[in-house]
């Protein structure tokens, strides 16, 4: 059995807990983090909007003015993903593989779940105050388009009633 666990900032511990307790032993677990292109893309765009401040060589490391902050953020995003995956693998305490993907977040998750037998993801919103969005745009897309069964977990423990 192949299981993909989508690790996102803020809500990933609930997914890991669900995978640890709910996925049968012996299943192949893949922890997936997607470093999205939108956020560095916004920085690329803002920098390109500063007409005239660019220096030759579009992709050199950060060294003050003239270097695109989006480049630095792409590197930071990969490092963030690796850190999160390390923490997630520790919490899982089961054999697993980890993977950082790059691209449009929702599409990468759907692509990674292709052929899997289960995709585990968390709602975005907080249980503390129910609002209209317990699924952000990316999670909604994934739930809509994933071609495998989806386990959708709440990020917080259920409140006592």
């Amino acid at each position: 059995m192949a299981v993909v666990v989508w690790i996102t900032e803020g809500t990933w511990p609930a997914c890991v807990d669900a995978a640890r307790t709910g996925v049968p032993q012996g299943a192949e677990i893949v922890l997936l983090y997607v470093a999205g292109t939108e956020v560095p893309g916004a920085a690329h765009g803002a920098f390109a909007g500063l007409l005239g401040r660019g220096h030759p060589g579009p992709r050199h490391p950060a060294a003050g003015w003239g270097s695109d902050p989006g480049d630095r953020m792409e590197e930071l995003a990969s490092a963030t993903g690796e850190n999160l995956l390390r923490a997630a693998a520790e919490r899982l305490t089961r054999p697993c593989t980890v993977r950082v993907a790059h691209g449009r977040v929702e599409r990468e998750v759907v692509a990674a779940a292709e052929g899997a037998e289960l995709l585990v993801l968390a709602r975005d919103g907080s249980r503390a105050h129910p609002g209209p969005h317990s699924l952000g745009p990316a999670a909604r897309y994934v739930v809509d388009h994933a071609r495998c069964p989806v386990l959708l977990v709440w990020p917080d423990p259920l409140p006592d009633h």
């Binding site: 292109t37 939108e38 916004a42 909007g49 005239g52 270097s67 953020m73 691209g103």
Partner: protein
Amino acid sequence: MSRRDRVLSTSFAEALSVGLLVLVLVCAVARPFGWPEAVVAVPAAAVVVGTGAISLDHAAEEVARLGPVIGFLAAVLVLAQLCDDEGLFHACGAWMARTSAGRPGRLLVQVFAAASVITAVLSLDATVVLLTPVVFATAARLGARPKPHVYACTHLSNTASLLLPVSNLTNLLALAASGLSFTRFAALMALPWVVAIAVEYAVFRRFFAADLDAGATAAATGEEPEMPLFALLTVAGTLAGFVLTSVIGIDPAWAALAGALVLGVRALARRRTTPRAVLRSVSVPFLAFVLALGVVVRAVVDNGLADALGDLVPSGHGLAALLGIAALAAVLANVINNLPATLVLLPLTAPAGPGAVLAVLLGVNIGPNLTYAGSLATLLWRRIVHAHDSAVGLKEFTLLGLLTVPASLLLAVLALWGSLHAIGV
């Protein structure tokens, strides 16, 4: 020369200058072969002068007008870079991490505060280039989702650049054209600045509710970085210098230069920077680009654009006229980027008085949030896709722009109208 020849040569000059402006802008956005923008802009300026599309007098006048403005901005760029070298932005990130206590909603408030102040005082360049990566890293350190906070930086680098003449190159150009003093400019723009930021905040809070509610996994560390007190005091002193120079009637650029010198000499003496690094933060190709762009735009304006656009620019300084001017400026800023839009619109609006000039600024400074970077959106999008081999989703960013820009523009114009009545020009 017969009348017929003159007509032909005029239409030739018109076509030539418009064609060159388009070429300069397209190359500035697409950056073929990674060339600096000046590589195309400077020869283009030489061509419009050489062919007589713009008279030598007008070209010299334009350079003389732009020179001090660019010097002013260069001093502020150096100041911001030296503040970064002193660790100001790093300290800012640590402060945000600590005071937000790991709660993304509170972090957004801190990001709004930091980005608004830094943009206003050290120019939007500082926010885009220096603060945005720090904010991203801070969100990552807290285990919070970076998107609301990074998008806030990119939006505020535009919206929060309304307050001071130094906040944006467009403001410096407008200050020179409006005849306002530094302090009166700031007084008139204070209310529109606050209103525009408040609208952004309200929209962001709702738009990113799911991401902000998702929380953060890492507890805030108690790390207390050393505040770069000397840099902070220099910046405060420079701000006081802007007010003082304005009161005694000398160019506030001298205050910026003094601030940059104080930090620069100290950093050089302590070997924290090199003369080469300081020169790089001035960015000479940038100065050449702005001068050359100014000459090309002046050629376009001289060759009939003023007449063509003259009817389009609302006249007067009533509320309706201000709204019309701001809307036109916002549209133009999205079509051709805010810098050339400002250069085109200033000569057309300056005769109507400072109110009209400030309305142009509201449009060119808030407007760019509508498209990805307020500049030739499609071309830009292609440039990014080409450079980074990945599909960039424009939908969410554009939707956010549609939710913020019209509302903040409308309310900021109302605020400006109120300020103009309350304070006067």
